[in-house]
Symmetry: C3
Subunit: 134 residues, 3 copies
């Protein structure tokens, strides 16, 4: 594996998990000074987003707001009963791309990288690919 | 064109089209072993997402849920009458980035790449850019 | 800084700002002919999207539709009172990736790149990273 790192995470039913430290660890291991990083979630009822890293109430409120916008619906057909989780996953997205400069992630002061579980509890995984600038 | 591939697709009024095989074909043609792939939709009422590749009911339910969250509204001003399609396009996003490893896309078992039409029928196009690792 | 460009923007309470010309300027300065571009917003209540560049009513309608889908709610706990802005930011996303070919951005005829303010007025910034193909 060329600067491709895989992590596992055990999730609750629904929550966001701050994985910024893991992405930073992958970058440090790679030794890359300048380029980009791609964080990718290989699941269809979970996602990756960047949002507030300080007040945990933001994550709580975001989950509440997502459940209001994309509730479970009686009209859904999917037999597993988790179409609302699929919807949230595609709305949030399953990857984020980041800039790497001076061997660091370019992130705003309040930004953290989150693994977003919408259909746990499960053992999940995600990948971090570090791409060095030519 | 350097590892940039263009595809056309004829769409219905509203549907998701599994384009995973086309993205894999682009990767194979490129001959790239390691790097990333960027799938990009050059339209403003269509998008690209990654979601469930097995049960077609998931796509059906996602379209239903998106229409509930982002319905057409009497308050909209845009004369073409498709502001709800623009909204869905920006919510889903017009591109996805993927990891390439061992000449393959890194995708989860249930993940497929979809072209999402929100305002057809139309002849649409999308691009696949393969980026080789240095 | 290696082909990393930073811009500032003064925003109103809520609006989308067309930054396509700035991204094109960054690309021109870089001198890169082929590769990709990553536009990144380092804030948690603002985002980046690609949508209609012609009729301003589309942006107006999108803001209205986002406010309907993700309204402020009495149940929110976050003391700053801007959880709806955090939600919109994660739904829209804080970055876009673009293809660069023949020293130009690959964009559809109607596509523009927007900085999306959901919690202004503020002085904001965004980054444009140009990644040359090897």
């Amino acid at each position: 594996m060329r600067m491709l790192y895989k992590y596992t995470i055990n999730t609750e039913q629904e929550n966001f998990y701050n994985i910024t430290a893991k992405v930073r660890a992958a970058l440090e291991t790679s030794g890359v000074e300048s380029g980009t990083a791609l964080v990718f979630c290989p699941h269809t009822t979970a996602g990756i987003t960047i949002n507030e890293n300080a007040d945990g109430d933001v994550v709580r409120d975001m989950l509440l707001g997502l459940n209001k916008a994309f509730p479970d619906r009686a009209e859904f057909h999917h037999a597993e009963g988790n179409s609302h989780a699929h919807l949230k996953a595609s709305c949030i997205g399953c990857f984020v791309s980041l800039i790497v400069e001076n061997s660091s992630l370019v992130l705003g002061r309040w930004q953290g990288i989150y693994f977003c579980e919408f259909d746990g509890p499960r053992e999940r995984e995600f990948f971090v690919k570090i791409i060095a600038e030519k």
